[in-house]
């Protein structure tokens, strides 16, 4: 549905995105993840035909974003980052305007607008001036605006930014419900948001694509993915040496030292090695107390930090 190849964008001499390629299948929800200034908004603006790329190509539903921009624009519902709306218009009036501009038949407009307001929970404020709505409701109007012409593709740039936790939850739920059969790109730098709703994640940093996979695969791929946390009462140096001697253990780190002599250790393990079962006998053998042992899954957050920081170091 969306194919991006070698996409590059320069603002003057500043390279905002550099040779990015990815594709999104029909019906897929793709997370677009990156820290501030990574180039997320820039990429979305090219896909939505706001401005052309400096190099590379972007195709939506088989149409080139630059050559056939009208065809692309007809198929996309876009919620820009800061939710720009006409603040002097009423909600229903604004949605009718957007529906009209997006080619919804004049006869079907009222129906579409009513349905969209219902879906987005806007019925109570349909006659209110947009400028007087709370941020959460404006966000809903922004979403409604993107959905009102029933587009095949939905591009949402940080849809929950600046909302309180309750509203964040509501909007996320709404996005999950509204995605339906649509192809969705969801930009964010909030990790749980992405791992919750997205089937696949693109991670970009400083304009470069650093990873693209499912959240689970990304977590698994991560080199330090498998770690085991153990808490042992015993002399720290000896414990580190003993744990380090177990086959399959790559590295042992003392995480927290306590006065009572029980320290936490993070044990990094080679992939595939079954170390967890080998640890207790070693501890017991030395006559120490094993107070706690648990496996630690790498979260998407670890992946993100890892990828982004290793990129910086490189």
């Amino acid at each position: 549905m969306i194919e991006v190849e070698g996409l590059t964008k320069r603002y003057g001499s500043h390279l905002a995105i550099d040779d990015i390629s990815f594709s999104v299948a029909k019906g897929e929800i793709l997370g677009f993840l990156g820290p501030n200034g990574a180039g997320k908004t820039t990429t979305m603006r090219i896909l939505t035909c706001f401005f052309p790329a400096t190099g590379g190509s972007a195709r939506v539903a088989g149409y080139d974003c630059f050559e056939d921009s009208m065809e692309v624009r007809r198929r996309i519902g876009y919620l820009p980052e800061n939710v720009p709306l006409y603040v002097d218009m009423k909600v229903d009036e604004y949605l009718s305007f957007v529906a009209g501009v997006k080619g919804v038949d004049a006869g079907a407009t009222a129906d579409r607008v009513a349905r969209t307001m219902h879906e987005c929970g806007l019925e109570d404020v349909s006659g209110r001036i947009i400028g007087q709505l709370s941020k959460g409701y404006r966000q809903r109007v922004g979403l409604a605006q993107a959905l009102v012409a029933d587009p095949e593709i939905l591009i949402l740039d940080e849809p929950t930014i600046g909302l309180d936790p309750n509203q964040i939850r509501d909007i996320r739920k709404l996005i999950g419900e509204l995605a339906g059969a649509r192809t969705v790109i969801l930009c964010s730098h909030i990790l749980p948001e992405i791992s919750m709703v997205c089937g696949r994640v693109v991670i970009i940093n400083k304009g470069r694509l650093v990873a693209i996979d499912t959240p689970e695969n990304l977590a698994r791929q991560l080199h330090h993915a498998a770690t085991i946390f153990v808490r042992v009462a015993g002399p720290a140096e000896d414990v580190v040496a003993a744990l380090g001697g177990i086959p399959g253990v790559r590295e042992v780190e003392v995480e927290a030292t306590h006065g009572d002599g029980a320290n936490g250790y993070v044990v990094a393990v080679d992939e595939g090695a079954d170390v967890r079962r080998a640890i207790p006998p070693v501890i017991v053998e030395h006559g120490w107390d094993l107070e706690e042992i648990r496996a630690r899954e790498a979260s998407l957050e670890d992946v993100f930090v890892e990828l982004v920081t290793s990129e910086v170091a490189a």
Partner: protein, 261 residues
């Protein structure tokens, strides 16, 4: 170009002129100032008429006692000057504000052509201009209470005023497209309009050939002949070209803004 899209932009923009009270403010101030100027012209005219009754020499100066020459034509001159100051206030927000508030990003990613956007906004401004001018029709109408002004110069004068205002609006949209600051947009527009206006003064000092060119380029000289009742296609073509040029430049400015990102 899709007429439905044009209509949607036009109606949205026109409505926003009224819901934001911009149209009311501009129209009210415009009518107040022009009304005051009309009153002064009328007062001068009646004083002159009284003096002419006592002084036959003055009465022979036909021009002075012609209501068209003494009231209507100066009135049109005054109105054109007020238009120069007011039109930029109407146009300054058109694109600058869309850019500043970010709504431009949505507008330019809707399936709309840039020409539909610009023309829709332009027509909305023309409608406000027409309303402003319609409000001033009361002044010449009042003249009928006392005299019989010639109709033709009034009709062509209004055509001239409308074309002049339309030209001001085109230039105003252009300056609004090159900045996201409304104050800068309005200042640029007033500056450029004064330049096109004051050009005619330089025509006096230039060589005859150059003088003719300068005077053709000056925006107000064309109103003068229309206000005299002379309907010359040359004047109408001048305004047509002026308007098309600045609308075209506006489209170029939007386009280049796209490329710059």
């Amino acid at each position: 170009m899709n007429p439905r899209n044009l209509g949607l932009i036009y109606r949205r923009e026109l409505k926003s002129f009224y819901t934001s009270f911009i149209a009311y403010a501009v129209i009210a101030v415009f009518l107040a100032i022009t009304g005051y100027l009309f009153y002064n012209l009328l007062a001068t005219f009646s004083v002159l008429s009284f003096q002419a009754q006592a002084n036959p020499m003055l009465a022979k100066q036909y021009n002075l006692l012609n209501v068209n020459e003494t009231v209507v034509r100066p009135l049109f001159g005054n109105i054109s000057m007020i238009l120069l100051l007011m039109m930029p206030l109407l146009t300054m927000k058109l694109l600058a504000d869309e850019k500043k508030s970010g709504t431009m990003e949505l507008l330019l990613t809707f399936p709309l052509r840039d020409t539909e956007v610009v023309l829709g906004k332009y027509l909305a401004c023309l409608t406000v201009l027409a309303t402003m001018l319609a409000g001033t029709v009361t002044y010449p109408a009042l003249l009928y209470l006392w005299g019989r002004p010639e109709l033709m110069p009034i009709a062509t004068g209004y055509l001239g005023l409308f074309l002049l205002g339309a030209a001001f609006i085109a230039l105003g949209i252009f300056t609004s497209s090159v900045t996201e600051n409304q104050v800068i947009a309005a200042s640029l527009a007033v500056g450029m309009l004064f330049f096109f206006w004051l050009m005619s003064y330089s025509a006096v000092f230039a060589s005859p050939d150059l003088g003719r060119i300068i005077s053709y380029l000056a925006v107000n000289d064309h109103l003068q002949s229309l206000a005299k009742g002379v309907l010359d296609t040359e004047d109408i073509i001048y305004y047509g070209i002026f308007i098309l040029l600045f609308l075209f430049l506006t489209l170029r400015a939007i386009e280049s803004g796209r490329w710059r990102g």
